[in-house]
Structures are given as structure tokens and as C-alpha cells.
């Protein structure tokens, strides 16, 4: 069937088309392109040397380190969970399955501040177990464990949400065949399931990592903003901004921006692979 898009019966006059395209480009240009360009523009305004100095500042470096550590713990945990949960959801029917599916979507539906808040309510000084923790000298809030918990909470849906529809669509026949042929559960997983889901898994990991490194709201609530100790990169940006160190703030922000753009590119590349398998 030949497309009728270019026949006047089913398309707009040329001038309407041009206006719509112009408006669309202007909207995106003003709202997205300009701000992103501004990040890099402002970061480099004082020159490359100043940019470099802001990045290798010890406080910035420790923020980078903390960001990587938190992501480094949160992402693998969520990957294991994601695989386990999708396996259970896609392959079995069990009571509470739909509850589980809704719970997995939960962190995406709530504000990041709420996410941080529940951990403070639990572990904070006046929280449910707070007094017990301080009696034993265990610090969760205003320390690394709290940051890791908050980061893990907000990023935990990503891998599962990628894998569940993928595994449901792929069906269980190949795994069943493997088991009948004598493979153990683990062997089946490693040799049959993993290769099939590898692109979807990678996509989920990229999403999860990007979000883990960029999380601001939830971490902000639990961290206490202690420079050098409980500041992740995004928090560090805020501190620099509040201290009027604009150029440094933009420099650090530009690092995060580069990370985000890289993850976007990676995702588009992987998405094409997911489609073709």
C-alpha cells in the first residue's frame, strides 16, 4: 500500500508544516539544547586550566570516589535482584506476583525526597531504630551506608523493568529444552538465559548506573552534606553553587553531563541490538 502522506488530502499545507517544525525545534532548542550548552560553556569560561583545577580538587575527587563507590555497590545488587525477580516473574505464577510487579515500579512513582525520607525515618537520630544504632556506634544516615541504601532504592527498578518484558516475550522453551537435556539450573542460566537477555541486561545496567551516579534528591536527604565524606558528585555541585563557586560548579556538573550523554548514546546503540535479537 503506497503511503498517502504527500497527498494534499492527508497532509497539511507546506506553510503549516514549516511552522510546526520551527516551533518544535525552537522549543527543544530553548529548553534543552541551550541549558546543556550553557553547562559546558560556563564550565570552560575561565579556560581549560581552571576547568582542570576544579576537577582535580581533592574535595571533588573524593566526591567522584564516593559516587563511584555508591554506584559500584548499588548497581550489582540491583542487577542480581533484577535478574532474580524477572526470572521469577516471567517464568512462574505465584501468589503475590502482581503485588511484586507493582512494588518494583514503586520507587519510580515516589519523589526521591520521599525515598530518602523513609530511610531517615528508619535510621535517623529520632528514627525507629536510630537510638539503637547510635548506642552501638553504627552510622547509617549521614554516612556511606545511608547513601548506598538510598541509591539502591531509587535505582532498583531499572534492571528488572528491562528484563521482565524481554523474558516474557522470549518464552521458556529454550530453558526447558536445556533442563530436559540434563543441565542444572545454574548451567541453564549461564549458557541459555544469559546470552539471550544480554543486550536487555546491558541496557538496564547502563540506565541503572547513570541514574545511580546522578541521583540527587534521595541522597541529599540522607547524606548530611559532609564535605569530603558524604558528598557525591551531584551534592558537590550544589555545595559549590551555594558558595558562589559557579565556575567550579559547572565544571563538576559538566562531568555528570558527559556521563549522561555517554549513557544516552550507549543506550541508543544497545537498543538497536535489543531489537534485532
Amino acid at each position: 500500500m503506497i503511503s498517502a502522506r504527500n497527498i494534499e488530502a492527508t497532509s497539511e499545507p507546506a506553510w503549516v508544516r514549516r511552522i510546526i517544525i520551527a516551533v518544535a525545534i525552537a522549543f527543544v532548542g530553548l529548553f534543552v539544547v541551550v541549558p546543556v550548552a550553557a553547562v559546558f560553556g560556563e564550565a570552560l569560561r575561565a579556560g581549560l586550566a581552571a576547568y582542570g583545577r576544579a576537577i582535580v580538587d581533592p574535595v571533588a575527587l573524593s566526591a567522584i570516589k564516593l559516587t563511584f563507590v555508591a554506584a559500584g555497590i548499588a548497581v550489582p545488587l540491583n542487577v542480581v535482584f533484577g535478574i532474580a525477580a524477572s526470572w521469577a516473574i516471567a517464568r512462574f505464577k505465584f501468589p503475590g506476583r502482581s503485588v511484586l510487579i507493582t512494588l518494583i515500579d514503586l520507587p519510580l512513582a515516589v519523589s526521591p525526597v520521599i525515598a530518602g525520607m523513609v530511610f531517615v525515618l528508619l535510621f535517623g537520630k529520632q528514627g525507629l531504630v536510630g537510638p539503637w544504632l547510635s548506642d552501638h556506634g553504627i552510622k547509617v544516615i549521614f554516612a556511606l551506608p545511608g547513601i548506598v541504601l538510598a541509591t539502591t532504592f531509587v535505582t532498583f527498578p531499572f534492571v528488572a523493568r528491562e528484563l521482565i518484558p524481554l523474558m516474557e516475550a522470549q518464552g521458556a522453551e529454550e530453558e526447558e529444552a536445556a533442563i530436559v537435556l540434563g543441565a542444572t539450573g545454574l548451567q541453564t542460566f549461564l549458557r541459555v538465559t544469559l546470552p539471550k537477555i544480554k543486550w536487555g541486561l546491558l541496557y538496564g545496567i547502563v540506565l541503572c548506573t547513570a541514574r545511580a551516579m546522578g541521583e540527587f534528591g534521595a541522597v541529599s536527604v540522607v547524606s548530611g552534606h559532609i564535605r569530603g565524606r558524604t558528598n557525591t558528585l551531584p551534592l558537590h555541585v550544589e555545595i559549590l553553587y551555594n558558595e558562589y563557586e559557579y565556575q567550579a560548579a559547572f565544571a563538576v556538573a559538566s562531568l555528570l553531563a558527559i556521563l549522561a550523554l555517554a549513557s544516552l548514546v550507549a543506550r541508543r546503540v544497545i537498543a538497536r541490538r535489543v531489537e534485532t535479537t
Binding site: I2, A4, I7, E8, A9, T10
Partner: protein, 404 residues
């Protein structure tokens, strides 16, 4: 061994085949739709190549052909959804080039219904009137009239998703008729439906046309459908019109080998054409001159209508076409009959299909016998029989050798 079947020879297809007097129930002779020299290309693909056609007022015309033949393109040009590269099309004397799709007031029914899913049946049918801002009372009266016509009075408030395929197509038809179009166009209207529903709706469309006498053109690739519904059939192939005529005409007197092959089954036998004879394997049959359309050709050894230069050259390789129902099967030899062996007997809905091996021709043939004759013969696989050809055709120029 010489056989004298009643032979007729072919004329080459005329590029501007004009319609003969219409047989529409209203009997108007003046053409309502007039198409001249229409050409349309998509890139290098010729969808339509110099097509001309007339449809009389009140006629029911079928555009029949394989995919890619241009029939849908022609329909869409009439509807205003495509523009021809050259040529003209007129409805009721108005040149369509001056009118956009919405101005033409034609009714169009799509293969996949294209109903507005968010509107109920009532509003779908009312659409054409609502966009013309007709008063509510008028709209209501017309919609009810149409609902009665398509016999779906009780389903006015249903959504398309709640209807069966056949019901949806009827709603699509009512929708197309709402604004009283001058012409009704249908693009493979029953293609998406089950065989049973298709058969029902075919009869229904024919009866509808008999009732309302609206000039109708529909596109199909199904020969049975075209023959059952239409007054006249236009056989198209690769952007050109091969033949126009009433179903019986087109079937009995095909203008060329494409038409003969496309409609129904046919035995295609390789032959050498000699002066007055065709040699098929070891068999020779006399060729006679065909009469004008509609006249049965006279039997006997006449000169063929093959061109003189061809005859002078001696043998011409060509093909002889025989319809399965023109093959006579008998247990005993008669004058002009030749030996064959039954390979398989298959009962079909209309009669018996006999597949035969014919050693003297060197290929297989098919014969169709009606039930009476079939049971009288009592054929079994492996039986030896004798065949004679009641009628056969030779076409002087075969330009469409690659046709299906």
C-alpha cells in the same frame, strides 16, 4: 491424427478498449465515469500505463487483476488520493483534476474498513453529514435510513471494536453512502473477511446495487467475486487493461493469453503453428478463423489469423490453450480422439477434476467433468481413456508470457 476442434483465434489487446453499452439496471447509456490515457508512475514502477475506461451511470464494474496490476491505483485516483502523471478522469462531466478528494463526493470503502474507532456506529455513518454541518434532524433521518439498509438498526451505539468483520464492512459501506455520493468505490472490500462472510456479503452487495442503482466500481483479485457481483469486468495486468466485457464474454472469449490464463483453469500446451494447423507433440489440429466476439467459430481447416509472414517462415512456436471443461473424456476412441491415462480423480464442489498423462503430447492435462458425466464414466486412477478437444485457442501475439 488430425483433430477439428472449434477454434478461434485472437486479436491483440487494444490499448484503448472502450466499453460496450452498459448493462446497468438503470439503463443509462451516457458514461458517468470517463477515464482517458491515465498514467501513473511510482519511481520506475508503472502502476498505470495509458489506461482508458468508461463506466455508464448505474453500472457495477469490477477491476480484476493480480497484485501490481494497477487496479487499486486507478481506484485511488478516482477517489482523489493519488494524482495521475498524465491523462484525465471525469465524473459526471467534471474534470477531477480540478477537485480535491473532499470535494468529489465519492464513496470509498477500504479493505480494512478504516472505521473511526473512537466513534460509535451511528457517528461513523453520520460523519460525512456532520462535516458538512447538516442539521441534526436531517442527519438522524439519513443515519436511520442507512442503518435499516444495512440491517444493523439495533447496533447504532456500538463501537467498531464490538462488531464482527462483516458488520464493520457494512457500517463502512453505510458511512460511504451517507452523503449520497454519485459514485461508490470499493477497494477489495471483502478481502479481510472469512470465506463464508465473504460469500454472504457478495450477494448482499449485488442485491444492494440492484436496489439503489448507484454507479459502483470495485477492485478485487478474486475472479469468482468479480464474476458474481459485477455487470462488467475489467481485466488488468501491469498497469494496462487487457480486456473489458461481461463476465461470460471475458471468460468465453478472452482477448489474449493473459486473460485466458488469469481467469479459471486452462491447459497450456506447447505447439508449433503451421499453415492451417497446430502441431502439439504428435497431435495435429486444424486451426479455424474465429468469428467476431460472441460468434462461435466455424469448424474446419481454415487459414489461421496468424500473420502471413509467420506462415511463410514455416513453424512458429506458440501455445494452444484448452479449458478443462472443453476436454472430452471417453472410454472408447472416436474420430480425432487421442490416448491418455488417468493420473488422479479429485472431487471438487462443481464436479470431477481429472488429471491425465498424455504421452503423445508429452505433458499432463486437466479435464473437468460434471457429476453426471463423471459418475457415468466411473473413472479410476490408472484407467486408459481417450480425449478429444471441443474447443481450443491460439493467440497470435503473446506479449504476456511471464504472466501468472
Amino acid at each position: 491424427m488430425t483433430i477439428h476442434p472449434a477454434m478461434s483465434t485472437a486479436h491483440t489487446p487494444r490499448p484503448t478498449a472502450k466499453a460496450t453499452a452498459g448493462s446497468g439496471a438503470s439503463g443509462e447509456a451516457a458514461p458517468l465515469i470517463e477515464v482517458r490515457g491515465l498514467t501513473k508512475r511510482f519511481g520506475t514502477f508503472h502502476a498505470l500505463d495509458d489506461v482508458s475506461l468508461s463506466v455508464p451511470g448505474g453500472g457495477l464494474l469490477a477491476l480484476l487483476g493480480p497484485s501490481g496490476s494497477g487496479k487499486t491505483t486507478l481506484l485511488r485516483i478516482l477517489a482523489g488520493l493519488e494524482h495521475p502523471d498524465s491523462g484525465s478522469a471525469m465524473i459526471d462531466g467534471t474534470d477531477l483534476a480540478a477537485q480535491s478528494a473532499r470535494q468529489r463526493n465519492v464513496g470509498l470503502v477500504f479493505q480494512h474498513y478504516a472505521l473511526f474507532r473512537h466513534l460509535d456506529v451511528y457517528e461513523n455513518i453520520a460523519f460525512a453529514l456532520r462535516v458538512r454541518k447538516r442539521p441534526a434532524a436531517e442527519v438522524d433521518a439519513r443515519v436511520r435510513e442507512l442503518l435499516a439498509l444495512i440491517q444493523l438498526e439495533s447496533l447504532g451505539r456500538r463501537l467498531p471494536a464490538q462488531l464482527s468483520g462483516g458488520q464493520r464492512q457494512r457500517v463502512a459501506l453505510a458511512r460511504a453512502l451517507a452523503a449520497r455520493p454519485r459514485v461508490l468505490l470499493l477497494d477489495e472490500p471483502f478481502g479481510a473477511l472469512d470465506a463464508q462472510v465473504r460469500a454472504e456479503l457478495r450477494g448482499w452487495l449485488r442485491r444492494l446495487h440492484d436496489e439503489i442503482h448507484l454507479t459502483t466500481v470495485f477492485v478485487t483479485h478474486d475472479q469468482d467475486e468479480a464474476f458474481e457481483v459485477a455487470d462488467r469486468v475489467v481485466v488488468m495486468n501491469r498497469g494496462k487493461i487487457e480486456q473489458i466485457g461481461a463476465p461470460a464474454d471475458v471468460f468465453e472469449h478472452p482477448a489474449n493469453d493473459f486473460v485466458m490464463r488469469f481467469l479459471g483453469h486452462v491447459n497450456v500446451l506447447d505447439a508449433e503453428l503451421l499453415d492451417g494447423y497446430a502441431k502439439i507433440g504428435d497431435i495435429t489440429i486444424a486451426l479455424g478463423r474465429g468469428g467476431a466476439d460472441g460468434e462461435p467459430p466455424a469448424p474446419g481447416p481454415y487459414r489461421t489469423a496468424v500473420t502471413a509472414s509467420v506462415i511463410a517462415q514455416g513453424d512458429v512456436r506458440s501455445r494452444v490453450y484448452v479449458r478443462p471443461h472443453d476436454v472430452d473424456v471417453a472410454r472408447t476412441a472416436t474420430t480425432g480422439a487421442f490416448a491418455a491415462q488417468v493420473v488422479r480423480v479429485t472431487p471438487l464442489s462443481g464436479g470431477l477434476k481429472i488429471e491425465l498423462a498424455v504421452p503423445s503430447i508429452g505433458s499432463r492435462m486437466r479435464a473437468d467433468l460434471d457429476w453426471e458425466r463423471g459418475s457415468a464414466l466411473g473413472l479410476r486412477n490408472g484407467d486408459d481413456v481417450f480425449l478429444s478437444l471441443r474447443r481450443a485457442r491460439v493467440f497470435a501475439q503473446e506479449a504476456h508470457t511471464a504472466a501468472s
